[in-house]
Amino acid sequence: MPRSLPALTPATRMGLSIAAALTLYGVSFGALATASGFTFWQTVALSALLFSGGSQFAIIGVVASGGSGGAALGASTLLSARNTIYGVQMKTLLNPTGWRRYVAAQVTIDESAANAMVQTDHAESRRGFWVTGIASYIGWNAATVFGAALGDVIGDPQSLGLDGAVVAAFLGLLWPRLRSREPWALAVLAALITMLTMPVLPPGVPVMVAAGAAVVWTVLTRRRGGDLAPAEDEVDPGHDADPGHGAGGGSGRDGGAGR
């Protein structure tokens, strides 16, 4: 028996639990997208083709609050900029070649990159990335179809608090990155900039202004060294189902290399 049914490795178990956690989020994405005026197929296309939670919520958030398609495109692309960094790290760790590289790119998200980066063994890294990426892709897309189909039936998403769920989800993604004073200060600044510019700028644009502030912040604090970078080295294995872990752990490798 043990030979025919090998036990799941830690990276595989972690990947499956992360994917399970993402699935509920996918239901709320599907329901919220259709409630925001996206058709069933537009909603399904976003999950199948775009497959990046933050960017998908940004698109429906911008469009739902009256923003233009261009603002939605800008916000979602900017939000996906960190995936480029993950891609480089996955290339370094796993170096997928041929068609696998194009599949790997599609399933490169916070969660899959994080699970690859926290493993110390190469085979576990590979399992961590692929299990998390593929299981999340399947779960997220199935959940999107379910949520989008159910969206019409369950009625007003606000009475179910789905808009509260989105707020909580973004806070949950942000939270693990707030481990030292600098990210806290920047997060407060970005929130203030967003609140102050929301009444005067088109919907979605304040997010890009906040992103610009982060770049200016990086340049201005450059000479102070990397000691104030997000505390990405403190990877907490107790929070393995926490999708917010990804970027923190990810940027740590780069930031750490420069110190």
Binding site: L49, Q89, G161, A169, T194, A229, G244
Partner: protein
Amino acid sequence: MSLWAWILLACAAVYLTKLLGYMVPAAWLKHPMVGRISGLLTVALLAALVTMNTFSGDDGLSFDARIAALLAAAAALMLRAPFLVVVIVGAATAAGVRALGVG
């Protein structure tokens, strides 16, 4: 342009951001500024998204049940609740506050 066109453009743009990482020579990204910008950009973007999703309204800003959801989610996170629980707490709080007729 129709919404469909913007959606497909956004899908292509995001896929390119992902693929780009696998295509650039690794030596280009050795610079410490790259990792630092990436980490801080993510913090700023997520903080802006939390704010936008909490206060967005027809006339710029709106103050409603989502603020209670934000506070409840923060409390859940301080208690080290898993991500899934945090999302459910946010939804339940917003729904509960609305059911009470407050938000």
